[in-house]
């Protein structure tokens, strides 16, 4: 399934560009930077702009271009294990081999479909659970006295500072067949044989909610804390009951926090690897795990790249929503 | 300067056509995108002046100030300071200092270090710096607070640190952005006089931005009133109050009763205006350069209107009648809102000269309002 396109290009012209330069210079920001630098010399301002700019272009944006490129390559037994996209025919024609086999493969094989759908489902349900647990917590923290507020907030962030891997590991000891929960229930005589919790979707949900809860609570707290409490008093004064006031005033005003929190949980959860690997067991199909296995076990770099591009396409919309809110927040803070 | 002001022969520089302006603002326009913040402003400010830019929020006064400081560059036009074109000179190279509305004290430095900061940038000798800092702190009565950090000071003390920090560099021009805005009312009144005093003693030219007309009237040698990016009138406080040239200025400074009318009779030294809403003919004892039959306005300040229950001897002109609608007793004065027969409400203030007025005017009384022919100001726009 190889499509070959011939791009005729002048011999001399083609040799002037190194492959990387060709990819880089086409990007408008690089073109802009080059002109800026040549025009201004190296003033302080352009230096401050260009250092992080070049860093992020090189180490954040270019890698995605490369992933895209390799997703169109063919897998070979070599180092590195993929074919080149661009080649020379008779030193005159630049050939561009676009191999869409990887994409066809991940579309045709139901394993990938199932993994995608399952990842979305798991991420969505975990996000909802996180919101249900996190909202009352954030609300409760925002409404306690300022002294308590800082302590509680610290307590929410604190687990984040201890190792994520070890916190997931802790759940193995709690959930496994001879783990803490089963031991307690059995010694109390409530159950006779252990409940199987490890290597089930349940364990994955618990793991994700547990690990990502701080990411949900923090943005929620930030919006709820900023809220003017006299708005609620005004609503009560106008005859609104507390629960209705919550639905009509507090909830709508906290939507930016809800969106930010949900995106902060949902997007990484879709690609999560550690939690399904450790808590979900071999039967849990999640796309992050699939990518990992393709890459490390099968050494199928092109397929892994195609999977990564597919995840990105799925996540483009949530990521853009997140960035929109993030940018609006930053502007509002000014 | 002080001596000069007391001298009878003192001629204000703005009335002297030969005087060289110290700050020359020439046709300055500043646009932010499509928004015109400052619109074709030309203005001369003279040495040793305390000039106030007065206007509501968003009128462009702060933008004009920031252009003087060098934080903004004019879109067009130029600014000269002491004969030098300021275009392209960054703030750190201008002989201009600014006192910020928020005071902008460096929170991590002591009072002393804050005041010394500007001098250290000039690479002055250490003992020179500490001498000037001490002198300046003495001048603003903060010598005993030299080692404190800004958050250990009260609002009034912080204001004085900000002032000292800007003045210690002996700038050619000191810019003050709402210098008294963050102080409470009592402190503000006291500080107003201190500020004028300090300006007299240091001889530095001050440009003050404020939205508070009372502040402008007390502080300024001259006031420039701004509206929608333009300077609408420049003059001494008395000129601005007693001889406004536009309805905007008359209305913005103090309160005023505005009557719309047309000229019914005129000569070189008088004019008669028929004012429909005043329900009388207004007689003005000077001529007016207005096209016949054009609409014009007469502005009369509330304190220049007399109020009485009996009609005045000559009620044919400058006299109208109405019913007292509201009375506000303010202690020093009383304010009456009188509804004329045509429906227009006129505001009148009367000083409370006696503790017991024998014959007081009360609600629903029919009263006569009259004023002197010199009291009305004729406005063409």
């Amino acid at each position: 399934m190889t499509r070959i396109a011939y791009v005729p290009l002048g011999h001399r012209l083609a040799h002037m560009f190194e492959p990387l330069a060709r990819q880089l210079v086409r990007l408008p920001p690089v073109r802009w930077l080059l002109t800026q630098v040549s025009r201004l010399g190296f003033s302080g301002k352009s230096l401050v702009i260009s250092v992080p700019y070049v860093w992020l272009l090189l180490f954040f944006l270019v890698p995605f271009v490369i992933v895209l490129k390799i997703s169109f390559a063919e897998q070979v037994v070599a180092q590195p294990p993929y074919t080149a996209l661009l080649g020379w025919v008779d030193e005159k024609f630049l050939t561009l081999k676009l191999n869409i086999a990887n994409y066809l493969f991940i579309v045709r094989d139901s394993l990938y479909w199932k993994a995608y759908l399952n990842s979305m489902k798991v991420a969505a349900i975990s996000t909802l659970l996180c919101l249900l647990v996190g909202y009352p917590m954030a609300y409760g923290i925002a409404r306690t006295s300022p002294a308590w507020r800082n302590v509680l907030l610290m307590l929410v962030i604190l687990p984040f500072w201890t190792s994520f891997l070890l916190r997931v590991y802790a759940w193995i000891g709690i959930l496994k067949n001879n783990g803490i929960i089963n031991n307690i229930l059995m010694s109390l005589g409530i159950i006779d044989s252990p409940i199987v919790m490890m290597q089930t979707p349940f364990a994955v949900y618990v793991g994700i909610v547990y690990s990502y809860l701080p990411f949900m609570v923090m943005p929620l707290y930030a919006t709820l804390e900023k809220m003017d409490l006299t708005l609620l008093e005004a609503a009560y004064d106008l005859g609104c009951r507390p629960f209705k006031a919550f639905l009509r005033i507090t909830l709508p005003l906290s939507i930016p926090g809800i969106v930010a929190g949900c995106m902060l949980v949902f997007i990484p959860a879709v690609g999560e690897f550690v939690i399904p690997e450790l808590l979900g067991g071999p039967n849990t199909l999640m796309i992050g795990k699939v990518l990992w296995d393709e890459f490390f076990s099968n050494r199928a770099w092109p397929v892994a790249s195609a999977v990564a591009i597919a995840i990105l396409l799925l996540l483009v919309i949530p990521i853009m929503i997140f960035q929109h809110y993030q940018a609006r927040d930053a502007e509002a803070g000014r | 300067m002080n001596e000069a002001r007391r001298n009878d022969k003192y001629v204000p520089p703005w009335t002297d056509p030969k005087a060289e302006p110290y700050v020359r603002i020439e046709k300055v326009t500043k646009k932010f995108g499509d928004f015109v913040a400052v619109d074709d402003v030309s203005l001369n400010i003279y040495k040793n002046e305390l000039f106030c830019l007065l206007g509501g929020s968003g009128c462009g006064k702060s933008t004009l100030l920031r252009m003087l400081a060098g934080f903004e560059q004019p879109t067009s036009g130029s600014i000269y300071l002491d004969g030098v074109d300021m275009a392209g000179i960054p703030p750190y190279n201008r002989p201009v200092n600014m006192m910020f509305q928020s005071y902008a004290l460096f929170p991590h430095m002591s009072v002393e270090d804050n005041v010394a900061f500007g001098l250290k940038q000039e690479r002055l000798a250490k003992n020179e710096v500490s001498k000037r800092v001490n002198d300046m702190l003495g001048l603003v009565q903060l010598a005993q607070f030299a080692k404190r950090k800004p958050h250990q000071l009260s609002g009034g003390q912080r204001q004085r640190v900000a002032l000292a920090r800007a003045l210690v560099k002996q700038p050619k021009l000191l810019l003050l952005d709402e210098p008294l805005g963050a102080l409470d009312k009592k402190l503000r009144e006291q500080t107003q006089f201190e500020l004028v005093n300090l300006q007299d003693r240091t001889g530095v030219t001050f440009v003050v931005v404020t939205h508070d007309q009372e502040e402008a009237m007390t502080l300024a040698s001259r006031i420039g009133v701004m509206n929608q990016g333009r300077i609408v009138q420049v003059g001494t406080p008395t000129e601005i109050y007693e001889f406004p040239t536009t309805r905007f200025v008359a209305d913005f400074i103090g309160s005023v009763n505005m009557f719309e009318g047309r000229i019914v009779d005129e000569d070189n030294d008088f004019v008669r205006i028929g004012a429909e809403d005043a329900r009388c003919t207004i007689f003005i004892n000077h001529g007016v350069a207005a096209a016949p039959n054009s609409t014009l306005w007469v502005a009369i300040r509330p304190e220049k209107v007399n109020i009485s229950r009996e009609p005045p001897p000559d009620a044919s002109e400058n006299c109208t009648t109405g019913i007292v609608q509201d009375i506000a007793y303010m202690g020093d004065v009383s304010i009456f809102n009188v509804k004329l027969d045509g429906g227009k409400v006129v505001k009148v203030t009367q000083p409370n000269l006696f503790r017991h007025a024998e014959e007081t005017i009360t609600w629903e009384d029919r009263v006569y309002l009259h004023w002197h022919p010199a009291s009305g100001v004729v406005l063409l726009q």
Binding site: L57, Y169, P242 | Y92, Q152
Partner: protein, 280 residues
Amino acid sequence: MNQKRSWFLPACLIAGFAFLYVPILSLVIFSFNASKLVTVWGGFSAKWYAELLGNSQILDAAWLSVRIAAINASLAVVLGTMVALVLTRLGPFRGRALLSGMATAPLVMPEVITGLSMLLLFVSLEQWFGWPQGRGVTTIVIAHATFSLAYVAVIVQSRLTQLDESIEEAALDLGARPAKVFFVITLPIIAPALISGWLLAFTLSLDDLVIASFTSGPGSTTLPMVIFSKVRLGVSPEINALATILIAIVAIAVVVAGYFMKRQESMRQRDIQRAIAANQ
């Protein structure tokens, strides 16, 4: 607040915090378990700690991770602060939107994608330029710094937007050049944000398994990679001991930091009180 619902929020808070802390507590308790079966209590013992301290694989990996985390954090603070400065202080310029996008996207990018793309970049760079030769500490640091700088940028940016810009303008006005204003005025004021940014970047790096797995080479096995390979084989009391030590370090650091912050805050409050009193 409302009387009837007053039990609801405290109950939620207690349940939520129990959920957050019971697993951590269980890690600590069972690290002192004499039995090798991690979840069955076999009496008090500290032998797993002794065993941990004798395990050179874990200790070497921990030392490597700490070094990587420290270099990463320092690099991320410099780059992240530059991003924050550019976005908050340098005004509009062409390409600003792209920069702000590139600086926030790593916050939510799934780790497997970041890791894969980084690895492929390093492989391609090596092919084209011969650098980096193989993968190891350098590549891990670059990969970590790229996503850590996004976190630092967010923290510093929010501090800079809170900071009254006229303080910097005042310094310019008093004759300091822009670079000097940054180092003498801005930097000392935003220093707390830089410190918390550094700590966050340090923790992120110390904690990362996925990206490190992609970008490390032979001989650069980080602590999370060692833990992961052990945990995959089932629970191990040594890991509990390691977790307890990490938790203890974090807890002590937080208590100390909290104490100093509280002391500073109360001193500040006292000063403010005194200033108000002096004024009256």
